[in-house]
Amino acid sequence: MMQTGVSKRGVLPGFGLTMGYSVVYLSLVVLIPLSALLLNSTGLTWEKFWSVATDPRVLASYKVSFMTAAAAGLIDTLLGLLLAWVLVRYDFPGKRWFDAIIDLPFALPTAVAGVSLTAIYSQNGWIGSWFEPLGIRLAFSPIGITLALMFIGIPFVVRTVQPVLQDLDAEVEEAAATLGASRFRTFWRVVFPELLPPLLTGFALAFSRGIGEYGSVVFISGNMPMKTEIAPLLIMSKLEQFDYAGATAVAIILLTISFVLLLLINSLQRWVRKTAR
């Protein structure tokens, strides 16, 4: 293996060792355990799978997960574009701190985000108490879940849009401006088309993370079946009742959605790289 490896693959050493180790480790930690889900280790029958998958409570949890992740992803896309724009285009005092703190949601444990956001948006919280008299509940409602997912998702959008915006050729914009296009028109016709691929990628990343997110959501959601119960939590509660087959069924659907999103994100990222060059 090593001998043929050297002649065929150039002079560098270690292909057999590193490749072998990587594949074995990947199989042990990721592939074999994941296959346990798909290889029907819990004696899950088609009938059981179907009855779980079409159970109104399960369907409702997918709906909650989808709607809140989509709403959070959309708002994050708008806010993320604003943040990235300001970071790339303007200079102002404290900009380096501004830039650094955007990654906080990447670094902060989700449970901490969860308890903190609940404290902010609950009835007597800093922001929740303003909305309570208006009859609007932020925490323990789909709005609360959306707010938590917005926190988790915002760096994905900023960090995807930022580099593309940086590499954007200023000359094209200048040309448009010189030819008499208004600033808004220049943005809409010249800058926006270039930003569309990274914006879509950022949205997809935030959305995909939001679908599977657990830690930041369980505290703020209130976990009411049919209303604010997300799909990952349903897996958790089925496990707690030792309903392994049911948990597996819910997980298989969620996993399939995640796979599709991953493939979509990969092709979006290739598109970003192509248009960026």
């Binding site: 590193t18 480790y25 285009r89 303007y90 650094a100 444990p109 989700t110 308890v115 404290a119 599977g212």
Partner: protein, 286 residues
């Protein structure tokens, strides 16, 4: 898929020609709005952790952190990170070497598979280990017969953490090493350097900061993971409770100040991570 954004994305801004700059008013309105968004979305949650933790004074704060259960959770969290981070680092370096220094079929597939744990819900990351090692899982009966505990014990927590932090180091190194090509390594080999020495003397100095960056992100997630660990831990106080799980337990017992006090430790971890991350990014761009 936290942290899946490569580090070379955060460069200093490019200065722009005057014609593409907004006029003063628009500029400051946009900056002001962006600042408000940032304060509301990110700084506020950070501030609330600190104020809630100190709400009942230093006494309660210190007591919550010195509580034996909190200390044992801290020890467990450190132990889990100490085991999982080096393992994933070795894997990340090996995988990046194979992927970036050689050509082979199925490379793209391998890269996608490495990314997989970022796309999977952490709860599923815990569930799959229950299905393999749990009492009703593949190896459950065998493990029980030999009196080995994996689920609801330390090994399960380590495995679940390994799964969720799996891609961090590899993800960081692959684009970095791809950009650097392999000429330097080939030159070293031609000059007679062998095997591991090539990596140690030629590759490592080039990827040092990117590698450290991947390691601290991996570490932050390893210490902070909640969903996956929650599934496999069993929540036994003083035994299988990590710091994030301890935050949850205290919170559910309405000991809010104590819960936020423990949470503030994890916030500190996040802030240190961000500081180091900024430092490594600056170092690598020099």
């Amino acid at each position: 898929m936290a942290g899946s954004v490569p580090m070379n994305t955060a460069k200093a801004s490019v200065s722009r020609n005057q014609t593409t700059r907004s006029t003063g008013a628009v500029k400051w309105i946009l900056i002001g709005t962006a600042l408000l968004v940032l304060l509301w979305l990110i700084v506020l949650p950070l501030a609330v952790v600190i104020t809630e933790a100190l709400k009942k004074g230093w006494g309660v704060y210190v007591e919550a952190i010195r509580d034996p259960d909190a200390l044992s959770a801290l020890r467990l969290t450190l132990l889990v990170a100490l085991i999982t981070v080096p393992l994933n680092t070795i894997f990340g370096v090996a995988a990046a070497w194979a992927i970036t220094k050689f050509r082979f079929r199925g490379k793209q597939l391998l890269v996608t598979l490495i990314d997989l744990p970022f796309a999977v819900s952490p709860v599923i990351g815990g569930l799959i280990y229950v299905l393999v090692y749990g009492a009703h899982g593949w190896f459950g009966p065998w493990l029980q017969a030999h009196d080995i505990k994996i689920i609801f014990a330390l090994p399960g927590i380590i495995l679940a953490t390994m799964f969720v932090t799996f891609p961090f180091v590899a993800r960081e190194l692959i684009p970095l090493m791809e950009d650097q090509g392999q000429q330097e390594e080939e030159a070293a080999v031609t000059l007679g350097a062998r095997g591991f020495r090539v990596f140690w003397k030629v590759t490592l100095p080039n990827i040092k900061w990117g590698l450290l960056y991947g390691i601290i992100l991996c570490n932050a997630r390893a210490m902070g993971e909640f969903g996956a660990v929650s599934v496999v831990s069993g929540h036994i106080r003083g035994e299988t409770n990590t710091l994030p799980l301890h935050v949850e337990i205290l919170y559910n017992e309405y000991q809010f100040s104590a819960s936020f006090a423990v949470a503030s430790l994890l916030l500190l971890l996040a802030l240190v991570t961000l500081l180091l991350k900024g430092w490594f990014t600056r170092k690598s761009s020099h």
